[in-house]
Symmetry: C2
Subunit: 148 residues, 2 copies
DNA sequence: GTCTATGCAAACTGTTTGCAATTTA
DNA sequence: TAAATTGCAAACAGTTTGCATAGAC
């Protein structure tokens, strides 16, 4: 499980205040989706989120609601989506520092890493090409220890 | 237009020999798909390939054939696919050296770059995590000069 | 002549959307 | 009670697949 700076209750409270301030409405669906994302610390697909909310809290959430919520959370910069290359979006909270991914092409295991050198190099490359850098995705594909 | 080490006719000739050697059959569809990929030097979607083959050479190729051919070429390591984040696969020849991409989130322009430092850093990261490195994708998102 | 590749249309997967019903504030 | 959110089902986009036909060797 991932460690965040903030405990879940504080995080949720701030989130709900933010939602209200923007003129949107809160719902138990949003609460439980966030709860799953927070506590799993994994890169979950919309389907997995739906399934987990049901399994962990016995709450039914329509898959359409999950997609809408993820889009909403992405726009709020609370969630980031990632395509590992199989055409499926996976979502994770952006509470922790930026990181990149190692993906096992055999078992789909995902390991996170972050590397200062790569980060700074990217900034340089963006500058050289006159790009105003917004974000980046770096994914290394390979075979994990147990799949080799 | 991109520069390759080999001219197209030589490349196609070697490709066809390779196909025969593996017990598969050649076709004009494969020829023209490769010709478009070679001469465009772009990252094309299956739809764009179909359209270009029609436009440039007035040859009709079914989209299913394009997808099958791309899968075939990927397995032969002649083509590499890339998902820029919009859920559409784009294909390019792997004839040139490995490179990564800068993608403009406004106009979808793609600029290629390659960076020795990042490459070597990736190898190190894979090693640290006991991964047997196979490939990687690094995409930097931002605004290009004219979209800023 | 055998066996692969093609083209079409149907199937499939992941995601989005319209709409009536529900919930929030 | 007004407005946003939900759940369902239908729509959608990109990709894959089954099958009959055409083409390669």
């Amino acid at each position: 499980m991932k460690k965040y700076d903030m405990n879940f209750d504080t995080f949720l409270k701030e989130f709900k205040e933010h939602v209200s301030k923007l003129g949107f409405k809160n719902s138990i669906q949003k609460d439980y989706i966030l709860k799953i994302l927070y506590h799993s610390g994994e890169h979950l697909t919309a389907e997995e989120i739906t399934f987990s909310v049901k399994k962990e809290y016995n709450i039914d959430v329509g898959i359409a609601t999950v997609y809408r919520t993820m889009k909403f959370l992405e726009e709020m910069n609370i969630v980031e989506s990632l395509d590992v290359g199989d055409g499926v979006k996976r979502y994770e909270l952006t509470l922790s520092l930026h990181h990149d991914h190692l993906v096992c092409t055999s078992c789909s295991k995902i390991i996170e890493f972050s590397d200062e050198l790569i980060e700074s190099r990217q900034i340089k490359i963006a500058n050289i090409n006159n790009f105003h850098l917004k974000d980046h995705v770096m994914t290394i594909y390979g075979l994990c220890e147990s799949c080799q």
